[in-house]
Amino acid sequence: MASDKVESVSVAEVRRLARAARLTLAPDEETRLARDLARILEAFSTLAPAEGGAPAPAAAPPREDLVAPAAPETVDRILAMVPRRSGRHTKVPRRGGA
């Protein structure tokens, strides 16, 4: 199914996306990527939308996101997989110049 809408992505939008994605782009790269993104989205706009819009939500609502203590045996099992540890703390290589 072909789309009748030509996708357009502006340089300003690429700049905004790059900020959100924590990327630094050179001005010529912003222009090139705006062109690439529009062209790629245009090609992929042939994808038929899901019938009735977005997929229906699951029959049961997701459980409430509650913080609860982990079972001690779970913690021990996870700690057993840590390559290097000190007691109940993981040891990692020093990072940066400090």
Binding site: V9, E13, V14, L17, A18, A20, A21, R22, L23, T24, L25, E29, L33, D36, L37, R39, I40, L41, A43, F44, T46, L47, A48, P49, A50, G53, A54, P55, M81, P83, R84, P93, R95, G96
Partner: protein, 456 residues
């Protein structure tokens, strides 16, 4: 050959690269551990085979899989100095089975590529024609086997990343059902699509490698499957093979001819061929890339110079330091991150990401229906043979189009293998897809195709 003789032959083929002095002739390896391989060969030679199925075989490992104490770059400057603190389960299992790890292989940066040209450490060349690409993203893996350096290569497959280079380089490769091979130690960047995957010099060696690395792993709770019984002498008799109509649309004539001739030989050997149509295949490329972009952009957030990657020297706000540290990402990685960010934003997700996920569901259901009628599905692995280096690098859509026949297996989570078939000039791969979890059936059919091709 003894294990030591195998290792010495591999090192001779690599030339000065064996001593780390410069790149090998194909730029297949990023790191060669000659001393470690020699020591390991001597050790296992002294111990004897002890029933180990991969005794003395030389293996290479894609550089997005961890090997303790060795660099793990993912083909990116961003991880140039990263040393893995542990060994991936699949690598450890290869060694437990008697294999000798020779080194880490080149790949498209963060496995984002289809040609092997996106590595920050330079493109890999196809040993069958060095002016052509080897395919990606497991470019060095396939080249290491095709060049006769490695017997087995461990790669990973996100959308065809072992099958594409397997077909282009003329080696056997299999994308397993997810959950058959542990992803522990894999720098996984598209978690619903990607799995470690083997390549090998022939199907029997491929099957032995897969058997060695498969099975449940407490370090990866998604790894719960087992390979089951495997009979590589099963033959073609009684096998019902669905020939995918859409897989021949737009395929170059030489590839179509080679694949159809191989299928005819399979039919003569006792298989029943039936034409099967899965029209949803035409949506697969768009669905695959949109899902991939979103997962990739999310996964790439951890490469911020703090959790992983090169810390930025820039002073100033944290966000600026992170962006400066990510400046080394190559063009395709940046393109995918931006597209994934765009497609998953609240105002765009319904049109792009949700649509892609729904299309993926329809595609998977159609393939399940098709596989209810036949034992396996078949078609070409790639729509064309290996193209020239640089031929598609300026056109991302042309590059993506190379994946059109491989991404369906990842979207529908089907085991899919490629096996070389007789062709004039450059290699051509026949692709076989099986029902989820029936990896052994795919290997058995691949073995029969290989036998028939050798005898033809």
């Amino acid at each position: 050959m003894t294990p030591t003789e195998r290792v010495e032959a591999a090192l001779r083929a690599l030339g000065p690269a064996a001593e780390g002095r410069r790149a090998d002739p194909w730029n297949a390896f990023l790191d060669v551990d000659a001393a470690g391989a020699r020591a390991r060969a001597q050790a296992i030679e002294a111990e004897g085979p002890r029933g180990r199925p991969l005794h003395g075989l030389v293996v290479s490992v894609k550089d997005n899989l961890a090997v303790a104490g060795r660099r793990m770059t993912c083909g990116s400057r961003h991880l140039e100095r990263y040393v893995a603190p542990y060994t991936a389960t699949a690598v450890r299992r290869l060694e437990d089975a008697g294999a000798i790890l020779l080194g880490k292989t080149n790949l498209d940066e963060f496995a984002a590529g289809s040609s092997g040209e996106n590595s920050a450490f330079g493109p890999t060349r196809n040993p069958r024609d060095p002016e052509r690409v080897p395919g990606g993203s497991s470019s060095g893996a396939a080249a290491s086997v095709a060049a006769g350096v490695a017997d087995v290569a461990l790669g990973s497959d996100t959308g065809g990343s072992v099958r594409c280079p397997g077909a282009f380089c003329g080696v056997a490769a299999l994308r397993p059902t997810r959950g058959l091979v542990s992803r522990h130690g894999l720098a996984d960047l598209a978690m619903s699509l990607e799995t470690p995957a083997p390549l090998a010099r022939d199907v029997a060696t491929l099957a032995a490698a897969l058997a060695a690395i498969s099975g449940p792993d407490p370090r990866d709770p998604t790894a719960r499957r087992t390979l089951g019984t495997l009979d590589l002498a099963h033959g073609a008799r009684g096998l019902r093979v669905g020939v995918l109509r859409e897989y021949f649309e737009g395929v170059e004539p030489a590839t179509e001819r080679a694949v159809r001739e191989a299928l005819a030989r399979l039919e003569n050997a006792g298989a029943t061929l039936v034409e099967v149509s899965v029209p949803e295949t035409r949506d697969s490329l768009a669905a695959y890339y949109l899902v991939n972009y979103v997962e990739f952009a999310s996964a790439m957030q951890r490469f911020d110079g703090f959790r992983f990657g090169t810390p930025a020297a820039a002073e100033g706000a944290l966000e600026e330091a992170v962006a400066a540290g990510r400046a080394s990402f190559g063009p395709e990685v940046r393109r995918r991150i931006l597209l994934g960010t765009y497609a998953s934003e609240q105002e765009h997700a319904a049109r792009w990401y949700t649509t892609a996920v729904a299309a993926r569901g329809r595609l998977a259901a159609s393939f399940r229906r098709a596989l209810a009628q036949v034992d396996l599905l078949a078609g070409p692995t790639m729509p064309f043979r290996a193209f020239r280096l640089g031929e598609k690098t300026d056109d991302p859509l042309a590059m993506y189009a190379a994946d059109v026949l491989t991404v369906t297996a990842n979207l529908a989570d089907l085991p899919a293998g490629t096996v070389p078939v007789r062709a004039q000039g450059l290699p051509v791969g026949l692709q076989l897809l099986g029902r989820g979890g029936e990896d052994a059936r795919v290997l058995e059919a691949m073995a029969e195709v290989e036998r028939l091709e050798v005898e033809a």
